[in-house]
């Protein structure tokens, strides 16, 4: 797969996940906790994809890549922790 095609696939996936989290997970049939935590789980994945594919950290030195990948997990986890303890 070319780099361009890979970027196209990632963009389509990001758009589809956004539609799911914005409109489907917000339906009243979905429990608030499930919807909110699911939304931040997907947000974490989206942030990681932007870092690795759009910002090209997939090809960065391991330490640099790890630092930003940790943030993509840590920031949503912090939000989720506040949410669950409130």
């Amino acid at each position: 797969m070319t780099i361009e095609r890979r970027l196209d696939v990632v963009w389509v996936a990001l758009m589809l996940v956004t539609v799911v989290t914005t409109w489907l997970l917000q339906l009243h049939a979905v429990a608030a906790t499930v919807g909110t935590l699911g939304t931040f789980g997907f947000a974490s994945w989206k942030v990681r994809m932007i870092l690795l594919e759009f910002m090209e950290l997939r090809h960065a030195p391991v330490a640099g890549r790890a630092l930003f990948e940790l943030w993509s997990i840590g920031a949503p986890l912090m939000i989720a922790a506040f949410y669950l303890t409130s």
Partner: protein, 193 residues
């Protein structure tokens, strides 16, 4: 993977753009992380107030803005790939990317106008204080990004596409950071129920 292959891969591994620029990106992410934590702590203290105020926001508007910014980010990523190949399509991709940013900013201004017209201002309560502060700082980043990308578009037109690629890599990474910050800001303010 052989030892030689491993060494070759390690030799080409690099942070895109100007390396020092990544300190700025890390710092920006750190500041926004503090804002996110501060917002969630305030929300914990005033759950009912925050939940009621959240319902005043237009989720569809926020969702469309997210799709707009993701598309703009993708266009800038494609612009960089085209520029590396000296392909004139880089100009078109970059124009679309900037147009996406301008459309996001215009959409945000419309959203602010609607909220203010409905009586929601930064002094309306903690939720709207955070809403205007977080989205306002983010909007400032969007505007800075639009200006920087426009400067590169102008230079590419006058001096050729392949000029200052390292600088453009940094500008593109800044733009993608603006995008990924919104990916967290949107659910934080609009979707946390």
């Amino acid at each position: 993977m052989t030892a030689t292959t491993t060494r070759t891969v390690e030799a080409v591994r690099r942070m895109p753009g100007v390396e020092g620029f990544w300190v700025l990106i890390a710092g920006d992410l750190g500041v926004f992380t503090l804002l996110f934590g501060s917002f969630m702590a305030a929300r914990s203290d005033k759950l009912a107030e925050f939940e009621q105020a959240r319902h005043a926001l237009d989720v569809t508007h926020g969702g469309l803005n997210t799709l707009l910014l993701l598309t703009s980010s993708w266009c800038v990523a494609r612009a960089l790939q085209s520029a590396r190949q000296g392909d004139a399509a880089a100009l078109r991709w970059l124009q679309f990317g900037i147009a996406g940013g301008v459309a996001f900013a215009a959409s945000k201004v419309v959203e602010y106008a609607v909220e203010v017209h409905a009586g929601h201002t930064p002094t309306s309560g903690d939720f709207f204080m955070y809403y205007f502060a977080v989205t306002g700082i983010h909007l400032f980043h969007v505007l800075v990004g639009c200006v920087v990308l426009s400067v590169f578009l102008s230079r590419w037109r006058s001096r050729g596409i392949a000029t200052q690629l390292a600088g453009f890599e940094s500008a593109a990474c800044f733009w993608h950071m603006v995008d990924l910050l919104w990916v967290l800001i949107f659910p934080l303010l609009y979707l946390t129920r």
